[in-house]
């Protein structure tokens, strides 16, 4: 969401930045299931990396566990790359994929 100035009026710069973000192709950050990472560990990592509460983190952890993967977020290329790197630093099987 683009933040407006103090007056609540969107500037030309705001509109331009908003349009740029909307036009950019989306990248999905996906976490894949594996038999090695502990469920509590995966929940913890999601909380640390995304700042989620425990309930949301557990929801995505269980989705990974039960369905084989979970789409964690949709981002620009750079942000998706950042999140994948953070998840991989914790040893999780994470990738970024182009949104269809």
């Amino acid at each position: 969401m683009t933040q407006a100035g103090k007056t609540g009026v969107l500037t030309e710069k705001d509109v331009s930045e908003k349009s740029k973000a909307e036009l950019e192709p989306g990248y999905l950050v996906i976490c894949w299931n594996d038999p090695v990472n502990l469920m509590s560990y995966v929940t913890h990592v999601f909380q640390v990396v995304f700042g989620w509460n425990k309930q949301k983190a557990e929801y995505h952890m269980l989705q990974v566990h039960n369905t084989g993967k979970s789409v964690l977020t949709r981002e620009t290329f750079e942000r998706a790359e950042h999140y994948v790197h953070q998840l991989q630093k914790y040893g999780l099987q994470a990738t970024m994929e182009r949104e269809e």
């Binding site: 090695v36 502990l38 640390v48 790359e81 914790y90 040893g91 990738t95 994929e97």
Partner: protein, 157 residues
């Protein structure tokens, strides 16, 4: 290993001297995760991804080097470990950031060992343990899990 005390800033654990020694030996195996095997995307194969993969691989190496220095300081220079009078026990004082580092290091070794085993399903060990090396890898994974369990428990999991 058990949690003795926890405040908003510090966690104090108690370890038997054998556990401290085990932790030190386990950390000697770090890093285990093969950076070149880490993929950034399963489906995107363009130039941008290739460039990013190279940059992230270098960043991952720096991250692992930094963690190696952290291990060295933790065991050799810092005051984090304090022995009991008879040296049978040690207290280990950690802040939140240090716990994150230990979790990352332990899991790097654990996942790295799993990769070394050929990424098997871990349900039935008889299916993938074929040699003494495999037994060693599973043993190391179990030890890492043991320490991870207590760190996560201290964090409320």
């Amino acid at each position: 290993m058990k949690l003795l005390n926890k405040t908003s800033e510090k966690f104090v654990f108690e370890l038997m001297s054998e556990e401290k020694e085990l932790l030190s030996k386990i950390f000697g195996l770090y890093p285990m995760l093969d950076r070149d095997k880490i993929e950034l995307s399963k489906t995107i194969k363009d130039e941008q991804i290739c460039q990013s993969k190279k940059i992230l691989s270098d960043a991952f190496k720096e991250f692992q080097d930094s963690n190696k220095r952290f291990i060295s300081e933790l065991f050799e220079k810092s005051d984090n470990f304090k022995p009991s009078e008879d040296y049978e026990y040690y207290t280990l004082e950690l802040d939140g950031e240090q716990i994150e580092r230990l979790l990352q290091i332990l899991n790097d070794i654990r996942v790295g060992m799993w990769q070394k085993l050929g990424c098997p399903d871990l349900e039935n060990r008889k299916d993938f343990i074929r040699s003494a090396e495999d037994v060693f890898a599973v043993y190391i994974m179990d030890i890492c899990e043991y320490f991870e369990y207590y760190l996560l428990k201290a964090l409320g999991y």
